[in-house]
Symmetry: C2
Subunit: 324 residues, 2 copies
Amino acid sequence: MNVYAEKLVPIIKDQMVAVEESLFEKVESQVKIVDDIGIHLIKAGGKRLRPALYLLCSYDANLPLKENASLAASLELIHMATLVHDDVIDEASTRRGQPTANTLWGNKISVLAGDYLLAMAFSSIADFIKPREIQVMANTIALVCEGEILQNINAFNADITMEDYKRKTFQKTANFIASSCELGAIRANFTEEQISQIQTYGNCLGMAFQITDDILDITGNAKQIGKPAGNDLKQGIITLPVIYALKNSPHQEELRKLVSSTEITDDEVAKALEITRECGAVEYSYDIVRDYLQNAKNILPKELSLEVKNSLINVIDFVESRDY
Amino acid sequence: MNVYAEKLVPIIKDQMVAVEESLFEKVESQVKIVDDIGIHLIKAGGKRLRPALYLLCSYDANLPLKENASLAASLELIHMATLVHDDVIDEASTRRGQPTANTLWGNKISVLAGDYLLAMAFSSIADFIKPREIQVMANTIALVCEGEILQNINAFNADITMEDYKRKTFQKTANFIASSCELGAIRANFTEEQISQIQTYGNCLGMAFQITDDILDITGNAKQIGKPAGNDLKQGIITLPVIYALKNSPHQEELRKLVSSTEITDDEVAKALEITRECGAVEYSYDIVRDYLQNAKNILPKELSLEVKNSLINVIDFVESRDY
C-alpha cells in the first residue's frame, strides 16, 4: 500500500503521481527483459516511503516538480535494487504477495537487474544532482550493504547484543529513511541545524519502522506483510524482541538453542515465537518504538510549514499503527 | 599483470601508484569483512586497463594528481564490482589464479560487497565529479548490466548473429573501455570532436580486447588467463570465432548440436574447439581484431602529445600481442 494512497500525505499527491511516471521512465531499457523486470518491480508496489519523505521534507521550497519527482524516484529505485538483491540473497519467492524477480527471471538476471537499477538511479539525475547529494545517496547504498552484511554475519548468533542490532538496523534501514529526509532538507535549503533535525526525525522513524517490522514477524498479525510469521528466525535473523527474550525469558536457554539452530524447523520456530511473546518482549519492543516515534515528533524543526509538519506526524502515526 | 608494470605506459607510473593507494582508501570499511573483501580484490590484481586509459587520455591537461587518481580508481572499483557479481553469476571459483570472493565469502556477501564497491566508486568522487561525468560512469554500469543480460539470454543459442555478438560485446566490455578514455578526454577539456575520436579509440580497443579474450578461450594458448580453454562454451557463451565456424565450418551441424547443449561435456567442448579451430575461425577473428586496432590507431587525434599518443599505441600493441 502506497503511503500517499493512504491519504496520509495528500499535499504531495501530484508529486507522487509524477514519481510513478518517473519510475517507469527510469527503468526503460532497449533490452526487453530489463524493461520487463523494471515494470514488474514498479507494479509490485511498495509504500513509497522514501520518495514521500523526500518530497515532504523538500515541500516548503516549492522546487520544480520534474526534477524533484525524479530525485524522489531515484531513491525508490535504489530501494528496489536493494530489495531485488535481498530477495536473491534470501532466496525469497514472494514479496508483497508477488513473485520476486529471482523467481521469475532467475538469480543471475536479478543480480544484474539490481545493478542496472542502481546505475539508472544515478544516471537519470546526473544533470542536476549536487555533490553533497550524490555523497548522501551513494553513502546510503554503502551503509545498506554493510548493514546487510552485518546481519548476515550475525545470522543464528544468539550472542548478538542490542547494540549490534541497533547498528545493523541503522545501517540497513533507518539511515536510508533518514537520508531521504536529509536530501529533501538539503535541496530545500534548510539550515544545517534544521537538516540535522530532519535527518534525526528520519532516523527515529526508520528505527521504529524496522522494529515494528520485527514485531510483526513475531506476532504474526501481519495483514499484508506478504510473508509468514517467524520468517526472520528461519533465516537466522535475531531481532529486537528475540534479543530481549534471550535475556529476560524464563526459557531463555531453550530459546537460545532454538534460534542458534541453522536447521530450525517450523515447529521450533513456532516454539521460539511463543517463548518470545510470553515474556513481554513484544510490549517491550513497542515501548521502544513509541520512544523513537516520540523523539521523531519532538525533533521536527519549528520552521517547517504546518502542512508539512502535520504530514510528517501522519507518517509517524502510520508507523505506530501499521500492521503490514 | 598490471598495464603500467608492463612498462607500456611509463609516463603515468606515479599516477598508477596513486591509483593503488586510492583503491585501498576507497574500500576501507568499519565492517571488517567488507574491508577484507576489498583488499583481497585489489591484491588479486588485474591489468588496471581502465584507470590507465583514463589517466593517459587526461594526461595532457596535467590535472591534480589526487583527484585524477581517485577518478581512475573509481573506474577500477566499478570494474571490480562487476567482476564480483559476474563470478557469483557464473559460479566461478577462481579468477586470475586467485579464489573468487564467492568462493571465500559466499554468494550472499559477494553480491552485497559488489554493491558496496559500486556505491563507494561514486561516493568517493562525489565532491568533484561533474554531471556529464556521472552520466558517463552510471551509463557505463547500466550498459555492462544490459550486455551481461543479453549474454545470458543468448546462452546456448546457436542462432546468435554476428550483430548480436557485437552489440553484447560493445555493451559489456568495449563501452566501458571507451568511457574510460572518454572521461579522460572530457576532464582534459578536449573538443567534442576530439572526445569522440578518443572514445572511438577506446571502443575499437575494447572490441579488440574482448575478441582476443574470446580467441584465447578457443586456442587455449592462454598463459595466465586463469581459466581453462573452452570455458566460454561450457557456460553457453558463443563467441565470435564460434559464430564464424557455425557459418563456415564443414562440420557446422555437429558444432551447432554441441554448442546448443546445456549439458556439454568436457570431451564435447574439446570437439567444438577443434571444429572451430580447423575452419580458420581463429585467423578470421584475428583479422577482425587487427581491423579494430588499426581503426583505433587511425582515429587518435593529432592534438594529443607525442608521449600520450605513443602510450596509447603501446596499449594497442599490448592488446594485439597479448596471450593472457
